[in-house]
Symmetry: C2
DNA sequence: TTGAAAGCGCTACCAA
DNA sequence: TTGGTAGCGCTTTCAA
């Protein structure tokens, strides 16, 4: 067994044929006689020949591979969206490659750079936090200029002319707030461990607007992951409130924890609406009412759109909205 | 803006210099005068030149990219291990690509096929369930014959001569069982939603062995994700037990749910030890005692080993053991 | 039916 | 200090 990969050149010299003959035979060209083809295919198999996709991509510019670029995979939203993407790609003749940016602009650009040239035909991307802040979008433009298709989902740049799959975060949380108000809660506070992110700020605005509209004053508790529980506890020991909206998984857990420590009952003392994986929320006691972003569907839709564009070779500038909905359970 | 990416050739003709001069200047070669360098760099920036990594890889046979092949990302163990891998790779001059097999042998092979030739320099892989069952390992051998380095973690094939990062699942769960026995529990049952997987079976054996050794009879409750809660509830309504070991996140949640519904106190009525993300376990009420597999460390170690091999260009056949430990919290 | 040669973008060697 | 050229593995005309 060879200690490095077999090339067309090697096969050619082994068989005493030319490189082009080998290439054609392996691509089942009609130009080559069946006898020769058979001989070549057999030898190729014997030497375990595998075409070098890189060289191939260099020439043709297409690889039947797509890249998924997301900020994280710890986050259940992206993990689940990825699952939706995979389910569509699996049933096509494409393969998916995943890259994780950790919210870093530099990593995002590096990934686009590495993959734009011949490795993948298109991108599904959820824009990293840092890219949103620095507003440097030239890597998307570059990729599109190279004829790559791009579909953005959830984290989207409106000014880039590509397909975008969005959710109505702002509206969803307003409705959740109103829902709480409708059930006679009027001291509703918001807890967030993600207000360093744009998403968090956006959601916070939705809450504040709804509160303001109802003539209620809003309270926003924000801290990082490690501190959120303490911050909430401090607040809860010195202030009254009858409902909480938690913007992320960690904040949601913190609410349950503090309520239990302070002997408060959910939902009778405190109503809770949170963001959390739909796989976990029903397991909490009491079951958590969530704002469901339909991550799986978003992923599925993104993948379908990209595939369609790849087939039609046409890029479109359109936005598809997937409504976030309230999954009403016991906690509110 | 050009409709396709700028190449060295284009820059050369724009500047009236040769391709090699451009190449050298952009690589900051000492052969080129500072004046020319400056001129070239400036123009390159203006035309937004980005080197084609593919062409680069073609030449050198190296791409400074590694592939991570894992069965899933829904599973917090792999998500966290991935995080550990990323943290190491980020600080190197390599980039990581992730592929998800969904436990499918076919997808695993397809990924190796696609990436072995020129796309990546090495692999970090957690072997898919199906590959373990069908025992077809030729894709690993092929990759190694092509000069690729492989590091396996968690899901490992002992007969493949590569670096393997393992955890002592079997021992860990035996110890957990003994721990429970030591604190005077003697009706210990096991609940699993993953006994369709090898990992689950392995852990179950560890439990059974420990029980047998202590002269206690073991009870194994297994069902799929959707049914595990019902199965446990049925059992709990008709049988007494004073401790539970839960093999996965879903089973762990189910135990808390059923205990609450049946008015049983954790840990006084029922002690619980489970498998769950260390990020979530402390948030449960009461905090869950877990068997901690140190997923992050496993990922980190795998990545470090692969990088070391890539640098030394030497493949070794070694096994590194990362002990699973009991993270003792309130539930047991 | 087969082969020679150009070229994809780049680096590296050698010459000027 | 700069440029010409070969070659990485492959496909694709165009000739033979």
């Amino acid at each position: 067994m060879a200690s490095s990969r077999t090339t067309l050149k090697e096969l050619a010299s082994i068989l005493g044929l030319s490189i082009s003959t080998i290439s054609k035979a392996l691509n089942d060209s009609h130009e080559i006689s069946d006898a020769t083809k058979k001989r070549i295919v057999k030898t190729a198999k014997l030497y375990n020949y595998r075409p070098n996709k890189i060289a191939l991509g260099l020439k043709s510019g297409r690889t039947n591979t797509i890249a998924v670029i997301i900020p994280s995979v710890q986050n259940s939203f992206f993990a689940r969206a990825l699952y939706g993407i995979e389910s569509v790609i699996s049933n096509s003749d494409y393969t998916a490659i995943v890259c994780i940016t950790k919210e870093s602009h530099e990593k995002e650009v590096a990934n686009f750079d590495m993959l734009s040239n011949g490795v993948v035909d298109g991108f599904i991307v959820a824009v990293s936090e840092e890219t949103q802040t620095v507003k440097n979008f030239s890597h998307y433009e570059d990729a599109m200029n190279q004829g790559k298709s791009i579909v953005m989902f959830d984290r989207v740049i409106d000014s880039i002319p590509c397909t975008k799959i969005k959710t109505n975060d702002y509206t969803a949380i307003s409705e959740a707030t109103n829902n709480l108000i409708g059930s006679k809660r009027n001291q509703i506070i918001l807890v967030s461990a993600i207000n360093n992110l744009n998403v968090g700020k956006q959601r916070t605005k939705g809450y504040q607007k709804a509160m303001e509209h109802a003539g209620l004053s809003s309270v926003v508790l924000e801290a990082n992951l490690d501190q959120i529980e303490n911050v909430l506890k401090d607040y809860a020991e010195n202030n009254a409130f009858d409902a909480v909206i938690a913007l992320d998984t960690d904040a949601s857990f913190a609410v349950y924890k503090v309520a239990s420590e302070l002997g408060k009952n959910i939902p009778s003392d405190i109503a809770v609406i949170g963001y959390m994986s739909e796989r976990i929320a029903p397991y909490l006691t009491p079951e958590l009412t969530t704002i469901n972003q339909h991550s799986y569907t978003m992923g599925e839709t993104a993948a379908k759109m990209l595939l369609a564009q790849l087939e039609s070779k046409q890029n479109t500038d359109q936005t598809i909205l997937i409504d976030s909905t309230l999954s009403h359970r016991v906690s509110s």
